[in-house]
């Protein structure tokens, strides 16, 4: 099924911030039940500017600042969602989502189930994630795996402006709670994983060409970022671009799958690819142990056991807090990914 784009859409070059802003704007314009709040998102428009201009355009009551209280932000959003609104809240950094963990896991995720559908929480929780900006221990984390362990939550991570907008609109329209992580290192451009190579931006990039209006992308479909035959690379967010760079660097004919949504997961696409290639590499920035890579390995080995020629390998952040000075030793960058690709391709 192709992405649901309305016919002949007017396209515009956007970076990921603009794409997210546009998604919010489109939904706020269409649906008076959509409102946006969070720390610094109102007048100022968010510390990453994702909500810039929305208060001015849609009104003080539709995009506003919240007290510094992630638990209260998600808790009130759940109440609004139960009422029938579609709140979209921002957690300023994914590292600060933990004070809201109980509200997300015990409430947003459980409300439909425990009330047998009587009450629901159609809320979207946006939050910038990931490293690569010298944010250290508390501005770099990738906590996505935690949410994939919680039944009742969807976890989505775009890797480019086009997907970001389509997936975010989908998330807002979804009747289940969605945790929507935005890889902040990609806000302004794709990133090869080599901090020393010149920064790129989304200008002129195909995936930075975004329809101005409404469109959605299904969570159930992974995106084949690059088709290939010899190796399957499973990744999402920032690591899609590191994978691309590493594949270029190594010259291996790899298939790069951008999962986009971790839960629900497009297992079919994964199994199809690994069955074809027989080798599988998994990349994520998060801490390794019990990261989402483990779950991917569990599923791949179950479904592709007899097709696998080599053990599945994961290249990830280390099992340490995200260090400040040694950011690039921690980050699973171009070099580590390339080494892993070469090794997995050895006979």
């Amino acid at each position: 099924m192709p992405d649901q784009v309305s016919q002949k859409p007017k396209m515009k070059q956007m970076n990921m911030i603009q794409a997210i802003n546009s998604a919010l704007d489109v939904k706020m314009s269409q649906d008076p039940d959509v409102l946006v709040f969070g720390e610094d998102v109102g007048y100022f428009g968010g510390v990453f500017r994702c909500t810039a201009g929305l208060q001015e355009k849609h009104g003080l009551h539709r995009c506003f600042d919240a007290p510094i209280s992630e638990g209260g932000i998600v808790g009130t959003a759940v109440g609004m969602g139960a009422f029938g609104l579609r709140p979209v809240v921002e957690i300023q950094f994914a590292d600060y989502i933990y004070p809201a963990f109980d509200q997300i896991c015990s409430e947003a995720a459980r409300l439909r189930y425990r009330s047998n559908g009587d009450f629901t929480a159609p809320i979207t929780i946006r939050s910038p994630m990931g490293g690569g900006i010298h944010g250290g221990t508390s501005h770099s984390q990738s906590p996505e795996a935690l949410f994939t362990h919680i039944a009742g939550i969807k976890t989505v991570i775009p890797s480019n402006p086009y997907d970001a907008k389509g997936l975010l609109i989908k998330a807002i329209e979804d009747n289940d709670p969605v945790v929507f992580f935005e890889p902040k290192r990609l806000y302004n451009g794709p990133f090869s994983g080599d901090p020393h190579s010149p920064a790129k931006n989304w200008g002129g990039h195909e995936l930075g060409l975004v329809p101005e209006g409404h469109y959605t992308i299904d969570f159930e479909k992974a995106r084949i970022h690059r088709a290939g035959n010899d190796l399957t690379i499973l990744c999402y967010g920032t690591m899609v671009w590191v994978a691309e760079a590493a594949v270029e660097a190594t010259g291996v004919d790899a298939e790069i799958i951008d999962l986009r949504s971790l839960s629900p997961l497009d297992l079919d696409a994964i199994v199809k690819s690994v069955t074809k290639t027989g080798r599988c590499l998994i990349l994520h920035e998060a801490t390794r142990t019990s990261g989402f890579g483990a779950e991917l390995i569990a599923e791949v080995q179950q479904h592709c056991f007899y097709a696998l020629e080599k053990p599945i390998v994961r290249v990830t952040g280390w099992d340490t807090p995200y260090p400040h000075a040694l950011e690039w030793e921690y980050f699973p960058g171009l070099e580590r990914c390339s080494v892993a690709i070469n090794r997995i391709m050895e006979d």
Binding site: G71, G72, F83, D102, S115, N116, D118, F119, P264
Partner: protein, 420 residues
């Protein structure tokens, strides 16, 4: 609030508060800081207009708002002056709640349900609240306000089937007993995590304001659970956005085995916390049906007319164990429930009606019997749908439903794995 009397070995400077009465002691509440309950002079606190400046409620937050005297008279400016029919309805709803609690406790003891929680002694709070609110005002209960559901006419059989977790359970056995949900009766889904519903109520109230309705949300927490962050979020957000919410703290003196002083610390009252946020705050006699009714009416009017949230502490007493899993004789003096100086809400409203000449012992006993008979009859119907321990009759496939709106592939696969 409550002075520490019985001292145990504590060789350090760390202060750990202790309750007035421990097992073995003769219960004594004379150290409970409360206005003189007998004298008519201190009985009456002023009733400001609902849109009063929040800080003018200081006296109401530190004192005790009452209407009924202990001998059954209704007095003072908070008297809602309800007619006899309404009062009798209130009495009936409280007695119904009590009767249902009694029956459900028994059937749990018979092994027919996994769990139950009574509200004995606290019935006025839920019943009077439901009667003072509009039926469309969403209530966000803790697990001890079954009186709200019963007062709003939720089918008793449905309630019982929920407790039995059987095939008649509208929640298909997903939730533990007493975690009811009824959107139809504007009764929010109860989750067992304490406190979490408080910020939901404020979010709901913000939604009411956002949509320009005159809806009000009405949340309940135990005094123990005020220590959770969620209580703080509720006060903060309702203060910031002037949410039309009523934030009720049911101070029934106990949180399982912990006396209220563990949550209160050196606080004057729980209501006083609201003042710190610029919210109107009242402490009321929670065993006084009329006071509860009047306070909720006042707060609802304040909320509906743009005055924002009110914090209400209902001063009451949990006469039974925390739940069917609890044995209160392990941690509190045996006779404490009967020594409670503010009496019993059913007895007090009954006395009032009798004093009015609108009720008598015979009618009371007859009503009690009628309700017990009715409750037993409905229970038998409910039981015919199965009990948890016999056969629930719930289709295992339903376990995978309502996790999400649509069942995702991985749940479909798991359902297959279970062979259904």
């Amino acid at each position: 609030m409550v002075a520490h009397k019985t001292s145990r070995k504590n060789i350090s400077n760390l202060h750990v508060p202790e309750p007035l009465n421990r097992p073995g002691a003769t219960p004594d509440f004379s150290d409970l800081h409360m206005p003189d309950l007998v004298s008519d002079k201190t009985h009456t606190l002023p009733r400001p207009i609902p849109l009063v400046d929040a800080f003018e409620t200081e006296q109401l937050a530190s004192g005790l708002v009452r209407v009924l005297t202990l001998d059954g008279r209704a007095k003072g400016p908070w008297d809602p002056k309800l007619d006899a029919d309404t009062l009798r309805l209130g009495l009936r709803n409280m007695m119904l709640t009590r009767s249902v609690d009694k029956r459900m406790f028994i059937i749990q003891r018979q092994g027919k349900a996994s769990f139950y929680m009574k509200s004995l002694g606290e019935e006025a709070i839920a019943v009077a609240s439901a009667m003072a609110l509009k039926d469309t005002d969403m209530v966000f209960p803790s697990y001890r306000q079954q009186g709200l559901l019963l007062t709003r006419g939720y089918p008793l059989r449905d309630l019982m089937c929920q407790v039995l977790s059987n095939s008649g359970d509208k929640l298909e056995g997903k939730a533990i007993p007493i975690c009811y949900s009824s959107r139809e009766k504007a009764f929010y889904s109860i989750g067992a995590s304490l406190g979490t519903q408080m910020s939901h109520a404020v979010g709901w109230a913000m939604a009411c304001a956002y949509k320009g309705t005159d809806g009000v949300s009405c949340a309940f927490t135990g005094e123990g659970a005020t220590a959770e962050g969620d209580f703080h979020y509720a006060l903060t957000f309702s203060s910031t956005y002037r949410a039309p919410a009523i934030i009720n703290i049911v101070n029934n003196q106990w949180a399982i085995s912990s006396f209220q002083g563990i949550a209160a610390g050196e606080s004057k009252t729980f209501a006083y916390r609201g003042l710190g946020f610029g919210l109107a705050s009242l402490r009321i006699d929670g065993n006084d049906f009329l006071a509860v009714y009047a306070a909720i009416k006042w707060a609802a009017e304040r909320a509906r007319t743009g005055g924002g949230a009110t914090v209400i502490e209902h001063f009451t007493y949990r006469k039974e164990g925390h739940s069917t899993s609890d044995d209160p004789s392990k941690y509190r003096a045996k006779d404490e429930p009967n020594a409670w100086p503010l009496g019993d809400p059913v007895d007090r409203l009954k006395r009032h009606l009798v004093l009015m000449g609108e009720w008598d012992d015979e009618r009371h006993e007859a009503l009690e019997k009628e309700l017990d008979t009715y409750v037993l009859k409905i229970y038998k119907e409910a039981e015919s749908f199965g009990t948890l321990t016999t056969q629930t009759g719930i289709n295992p496939a339903t376990m995978f439903e309502k996790v999400y709106e649509d069942m995702p592939e991985h749940l479909r696969r798991q359902r297959q794995e279970l062979g259904i």
